[in-house]
Subunit: 312 residues, 2 copies
């Protein structure tokens, strides 16, 4: 199979600022966060996740989400989006008018993690998805994407049985069907970084077998060093859309020792070497790694960001 | 293909101390270097590279190689080896009596890098290999392993054509044949960390096609984030032996911004998850990451070493 192109969805500004502000929410000035988003807009990236509309009580480091949303400069040809975990957040994202809204339903394969991260049991989470689906419907959005978090393992529950992944993915399809929608994309998230390549093959294979017309996409954290191997495994299975974060920014405040996503520049470099189009300029991404490190005030896990790029 | 086991050759003590001492050779006390080797001996690793017998003038941080060699405690069932780049170094390794000696010929696919790293042109390097082959023969060692450095790219010369890799590998076989030996192993080194998975497939495939009975092994640096993806790609092609370094220790003093090898604990963890036997105890390796970080005085690139290991 020749892989001609891969879509990169940059999630660093959201992942990074959610994580970096833990315990000291005002450490990074809002202007600095905006500076990073604006820098990323000039790299050829076509999709950037800017911030998260969550409760400032639960996640104080995201209290400036509205301010960031007003302040960043939207570049032509780039879509911007935000994260929201409930109907209130979704309405903020719709109302601001600056984000691409795509109907989404999202569940978590580990109930323990759902309770820690979303503060909802699975049953409560399903109800919240219905509530959000109603908001999407009111505003004319079809439900296109289903997302399953912690699909490959959980720091609290351990292994996630493949059957549970399939069952909960089926629930995502059901939730979309309740609104007359058919999902076109299933995003599987290795939220806590447990996946290995064989598990990737089994899991993606099972989802593709059951829903052959649906695109699988991935959100992988590199907590245990397997994310690039998993990414390449998935690419060979036809996966063409990945969440990545500049410099490897990020982590998860609700699970200890969780690393950031696959560094954007590392995936883009690997694709470049293989003649796989990503549309991004790796050298421009490396400049953004430097900016991201200035913004957060410490080195990031990026490899390409710290290596010489050209043979010289 | 079911992969039942993988052999890990730990090269961290040598890679790490070669790199960490640049500019300040006495920064790390000899006893600390020995402490790391001894800790690694208790992890289930079966092969550990301890040090490098190179000229203390060229590489002052290796001036304590003899001292380390005398001081470490050999554990039963573990083999220890050293690096040497010329006949003098080889004789030191043989004479000390503490290292497993395996007849080896080694060339570099980039002549520019050969001159920088070995201070020899390719022609001079071939002559040195003949000289070393004579020493092996005098001491009754067959030439078993051929190693090709910079086989996947060079910071100075850029891409390395596949034909050059094949031609130079053929030269390694010729050098062994001059001594009546047939190589049983070809180790390809991505010394400066340029390889991508498709290149891995092309290169390993070409070597396997030409020499079907020979084992390919790999020495991969993670300079640009591709090493784990490359490792997994190679495993799927039948490669079963990898050099790795604890914590991702290392780098190369003769090429700027070169990262260490694949972290031992990251590869071991990935194998564990997939039911692939490595013989090592990942938790014990994580303890060694902590020791390695104490020894060098800064955090290492390890992922597993900084993550929670068990679901808890």
């Amino acid at each position: 199979m020749t892989i001609s192109s891969v879509d990169i969805h940059e999630v660093g500004p959201r992942e990074g600022m959610q994580f970096e502000g833990i315990g000291d929410p005002s450490r990074i000035a809002t202007g600095e966060k905006v500076r990073l988003v604006d820098a990323l807009s000039g790299t050829g990236l076509s999709a950037i996740q800017v911030t998260s509309f969550v409760s400032p009580k639960a996640v104080p480091q995201m209290a400036d989400a509205d301010e960031i949303t007003t302040a960043f400069s939207a570049a032509p040809g780039v879509t911007y989006d935000a994260v929201y975990l409930n109907d209130k957040g979704l309405l903020r994202a719709i109302d601001c008018g600056r984000y691409t809204i795509r109907g989404q339903v999202m569940l978590t394969a580990s109930e323990t993690f759902s309770v820690k991260n979303q503060r909802r049991t699975t049953a409560e989470d399903i109800e919240m998805q219905r509530k959000m689906a109603a908001v999407y419907a009111e505003h004319g959005y079809a439900i296109e994407q289903g997302m399953l978090m912690a699909a490959f393992g959980c720091n609290y529950e351990g292994d996630i049985p493949l059957q549970r992944v399939i069952d909960m993915t089926a629930t995502l399809f059901d939730l979309a069907a309740e609104r007359g929608s058919m999902l076109s994309e299933v995003m599987l998230a290795d939220t806590m970084g447990w996946a290995d390549p064989l598990q990737m093959q089994r899991t993606i294979g099972a989802v593709q077998d059951r829903w052959p017309d649906v695109d699988v996409s991935l959100h992988l954290h590199d907590t245990r060093g397997t994310a690039m191997a998993n990414t390449w495994t998935a690419m060979q299975m036809g996966v063409r859309k990945f969440d990545t974060s500049i410099g490897g920014l990020g982590g998860c405040p609700f699970a200890k020792s969780v690393a950031g996503n696959v560094p954007t520049e590392d995936l883009a470099f690997m694709c470049d070497r293989m003649g796989i189009e990503t549309g991004v300029d790796v050298a421009a991404l490396v400049d953004c790694v430097r900016i991201a490190e200035e913004v957060v005030g410490h080195p990031l896990p990026s490899r390409v960001g710290h290596a010489s790029l050209v043979a010289a």
